[in-house]
């Protein structure tokens, strides 16, 4: 369905192609003539920005049309492992858009911000309870940002104790890629510890790697293999015995809400992915939020300002002088509050029992689907899994030559978003499949049937898979040329008349 695009081969023209001088029909109040007369010429733009001029109806059409080219949770099953693509409650979208929340300036004095400050304070408490930690900072903008914040907190702690020699962070190879990347950003060398064949961390290897240079161990738990690190108690003991701290990547908390509280278990720091566990929408890549929770001894180092409750029932932002040891801020203002509102609403709606039910159902669904998928694919690790599981098409590839990539693309023709593929990097031809708790058993069955049917097709007609998808807005892309000759913007449009 189309307007201009009916005539060309492109799915939809780009905005510059839609542009006609004078077309913009949206009206803003005209600036008075001479508004910029006082400005020194050296500061002014000579040539106006050559932006597209598109009428409002076409702008709306353009983006509606683009939206139809997207797969999304609202339009289909999205078992993208490691991403927790569950249903995003619509009431949370409503809440975040309430003018009282949306229009509040971040530098508004506390007295004007009591509603949001209370919400933030209560969210700090909720996350503390969920994580089993005494202190929470809401500032980080995403999981990876929380990791950086957490590792900087750990660094500050070591420094505060005069323990400056620690320059390594140990990361299992089954951890998320952001973990080692974070270590680097925080100025640490990454030491990788391999997993054992059963997918669990090799505790002996860990013990061997630990030492006076170890600042921290970062553990993704459940790991990116979808497995709970069953040696967690020993691990924590070993880490602490080495004078290092234990960081838990809590992005996969959807698996263990109410079952495992990392702080209570002995971790020193963790981050949450609110956009995963507490179901704020992923937005095509973001935004999210990645609050961190820490043990008592690390609280002084948290980024500020935190939100503080006063005895009179009011709330305020901490003043910088209150926690001089703070690592400082990791972003402007106080956090991605619009995301915090959604997560708070989600936690409020579920309560403790509801959150535990979420994990029960997520884990049950993953194990059920795993069982079904195992009928046609390899399962490199013993169950039970947690919220997601790894399957592999290694045997199928050996037999048919068809790769996991081909299977993924063929799933698109069946109407599904493919799972995460070739991640984690340590399993060949792998698929990381995360059904989440919000998909019905019928959907799980239909998806398993599709995966099994695709395996059959791989044997019968491998070319069908290699050419897939056949039924998507576009066919496979030439990614090599895209990288060889990057075209990252349209050709500069000719300037204004």
């Amino acid at each position: 369905m189309s307007r201009r695009s009916a005539v060309g081969p492109d799915l939809q023209p780009t905005l510059d192609e839609l542009s006609v001088p004078g077309r913009s029909s949206f009206k803003v109040p005209h600036a008075p003539a001479g508004a910029l007369d006082g400005e020194p010429a050296e500061h002014l733009r000579v040539r106006p920005a050559a932006h597209p001029e598109v009428d409002e109806p076409s702008v709306v059409y353009h983006f509606v049309r683009l939206s139809h080219l997207n797969y999304s949770v609202d339009s289909g099953f999205y078992p993208l492992g490691s991403c927790t693509m569950k249903y995003n409650p619509k009431v949370n979208e409503w809440a975040a858009r309430l003018p009282g929340f949306a229009e509040l300036h971040p530098l508004a004095p506390d007295a004007l911000a009591q509603g949001t400050l209370e919400l933030m304070w209560r969210l700090q408490q909720q996350l503390a309870e969920i994580g089993g930690f005494p202190a929470v900072a809401l500032q980080p903008a995403a999981g990876a940002h929380g990791e950086l914040t957490g590792i900087l907190v750990i660094r500050a702690w070591h420094t505060s104790r005069g323990d400056a020699a620690r320059d390594e962070v140990i990361v299992p190879d089954s951890s998320h890629g952001t973990n080692p990347a974070t270590a680097t950003m925080a100025g640490y060398r990454t030491v990788t510890v391999a997993s054992r064949p059963d997918g669990s961390l090799d505790l002996d290897a860990l013990r061997a790697a630990l030492g006076p240079r170890t600042a921290a161990v970062m553990l993704t738990n459940p790991s990116t293999l979808g497995l709970f690190e069953h040696g967690v108690v020993e691990l924590l003991e070993a880490v602490h015995a080495a004078g290092a701290l234990a960081y838990m990547d809590g992005a996969n908390m959807n698996a263990v809400l109410g079952h495992f509280r990392p702080g209570a278990a002995g971790f020193d720091v963790m981050h949450f992915n609110l956009h995963k566990t507490f179901s704020t929408p992923h937005g095509g890549g973001g935004p999210g939020a990645g609050p961190i929770a820490v043990a008592e001894h690390l609280a002084p180092f948290l980024p500020g300002p935190l939100v503080v409750a006063e005895p009179d029932g009011s709330y305020r932002l901490e003043r910088p002088a209150e926690r001089p040891a703070s690592i400082g801020r990791v972003r402007a203002y106080h956090g991605s509050t619009g995301i915090l509102v959604r997560a708070f609403a989600y936690i409020l709606a579920h309560g403790g029992p509801g959150l535990r039910q979420v994990s029960d159902d997520a884990v049950l669904a993953a194990n059920y689907l795993r069982q079904r998928v195992g009928q046609a694919y390899g399962l490199p690790f013993e169950g039970p899994c947690k919220h997601e599981f790894v399957a592999t098409a290694q045997a199928l590839k050996a037999e048919t030559g068809v790769r996991t990539l081909d299977i993924a693309k063929r799933l698109i023709d069946y109407g599904y978003h493919p799972p995460t593929i070739y991640f984690p990097l340590i399993v060949e031809e792998c698929m990381l499949i995360e059904p989440t708790e919000t998909e019905s058993i019928e959907t799980l069955d239909a998806f398993a049937d599709a995966l099994i049917a695709v395996a059959e097709e791989a044997r019968r007609d491998p070319e069908l898979l290699r050419g897939a998808p056949h039924d998507a807005p576009v066919r496979r892309l030439d990614e090599a040329s895209a990288a060889r000759q990057p075209d990252l913007r349209w050709q500069p449009m000719s300037g204004e008349q």
Binding site: G187, I327, L364, D478
Partner: protein, 449 residues
């Protein structure tokens, strides 16, 4: 509310297939010693109750004041098209476009975002978004370290306070050094001090960071600062406000190698701090140093134009500890808001917004001058400036009682600077009315009388 579909009998069916009697069995891999019995949080609650609670909290915020507060976050009229588009589930509930065949909507929109911002910035490479302006500034500073192999960066103290603070935090580890440059009497960065700092060749400078407009709303001598930086082999990094770029010179033209900024003014609500939109643009030479996602144009098997994430070998999921940054989740939906905003307004609309704010600020300056309140600085400004009012913090508080949010007392950000103790930073945009200005002036007259 538990949103999922599973009924008790669904659960039983699944358990039966798994051959276990209770879901608890699936958690037996959690050692007993650390197994939790549940969470102490009240609920579940119905949507009615949740809605009521949230509406009650929102109502306790006060957003009805006449406001002159900017300081990095600017109130603009947001066209209704923006929320119409970003609230579409197809955009909001998708994730990173790993599978381009079913993500052309997001991918093309990001390509358009990159193109629009490249034009605004005058720089060819635009990342698909960072967390916010402050963290983008820090990332740009790290980029300068990587690109030059040096370990010292100069940042003007008149860059947005939070961007400076954030960069300090990012610079804590290792041997990185972040040095603040002072401002001159007119409120702009002291170029003499810059020259001096650059001259210290013992620790060569990787990058120089200035804001345009700066944190006091003033226009900096960017071209001159860029020249000085380049002469010392350093990169020049501009921290810009995107709406202003409709009328101000683009960073690429005055020699910036990297431009960063807070994209909030491009159609994103203030929301008490986020989610916002970190902008980061760079020259072609720095392409492979750019952190974050990039979307490129290509073709599909049938030769049809299509878009795809590219140059992924900079990213954490592939490169792990060798990645250009640890960023994974970004601010894609906010970038879509900005794209829709810019597409809706068009270049003339954006120009009117920028110039309209400048004109309102001029009117504000004149109205204040008429009651004897003068600007603090002499350098030119665009739509934000500081005024000198004895006892600024107290005056600010008294104006609040009169329903006026009189900008930011600069003491909050510069507690140790006596020059700024009496300063209020005021901003005007196209939403500022003459009546707003009158009310401020009237109230100031009373309060300072």
């Amino acid at each position: 509310m538990v949103y999922g579909p599973h009924t008790p009998s669904d659960r039983e069916r699944m358990l039966a297939v798994l051959g276990i009697d209770a879901v608890e069995r699936l958690f037996d891999d959690i050692p007993a010693a650390v197994r939790a019995p549940g969470l102490d949080l009240p609920g579940p609650r119905s949507e009615l109750e949740v809605g009521r609670e949230l509406a009650g909290l929102a109502a306790r915020n006060r957003i009805d004041l006449v406001s002159f507060l900017g300081a990095g976050v600017y109130r603009h009229h947001i066209p209704a098209t923006v929320d119409t588009i970003i609230s579409r589930g197809e955009f909001a509930t998708a994730y990173t476009p790993y599978q381009p065949e079913v993500s052309q909507g997001t991918l093309q929109a990001v390509y358009e975002f990159q193109s629009l911002l490249a034009e605004l910035m005058g720089l060819p490479v635009v990342s698909a978004s960072h967390y916010d302006g402050a963290s983008a500034t820090a990332e740009a500073a790290l980029m300068a370290l990587r690109a030059t192999g040096r370990d010292r960066v100069l940042i003007s103290r008149a860059v947005h306070r939070h961007a400076v603070d954030t960069t300090h935090t990012y610079f804590a580890p290792g041997s990185r050094e972040l040095q603040e440059l002072p401002t001159a009497a007119d409120g702009t960065t002291d170029l003499v001090a810059l020259e001096a700092a650059l001259a210290d060749t013992a620790r060569p400078v990787a990058g120089v960071i200035l804001g345009q407009p700066n944190a006091f709303g003033l226009l900096e001598p960017m071209a001159r600062a860029a020249e000085l930086a380049h002469a010392a082999g350093a990169l020049f990094i501009a921290v810009v406000e995107p709406v202003s770029l409709a009328v101000l010179a683009p960073p690429g033209e005055y020699g910036a190698d990297i431009a960063v900024g807070e994209g909030q003014p491009l159609g994103i609500a203030p929301q008490y701090g986020g989610p916002y939109l970190g902008l980061l643009a760079a020259s072609q030479a720095l392409l492979r140093q750019v952190p974050g996602r990039l979307v490129g144009r290509t073709t599909d098997l049938e030769g049809r134009r299509a878009f795809v994430m590219t140059l992924r070998a900079r990213e954490q999921d592939i490169r792990r500890d060798k990645a250009a940054s640890n960023i994974c989740t970004n601010q894609a939906l906010c970038a879509l808001a900005a794209t829709t905003y810019l597409a809706t307004l068009g270049p003339h609309g954006l120009g009117d917004v920028a110039a309209g704010g400048a004109a309102a600020a001029r009117r504000l300056e004149l109205a204040l001058a008429a009651i004897g309140i003068e600007r603090l600085h002499t350098a030119p400004y665009l739509n934000e400036f500081a005024i000198r009012v004895p006892g600024a913090t107290g005056v600010h508080a008294r104006l609040l009682e009169r329903g006026i949010l009189a900008g930011l007392p600069l003491q909050r950000w510069y507690p140790d600077d006596a020059d700024l103790a009496d300063a209020l930073l005021l901003c005007a945009t196209e939403v500022t009315t003459d009546e707003d200005i009158e009310r401020l002036v009237e109230a100031l007259r009373e309060v300072t009388a």
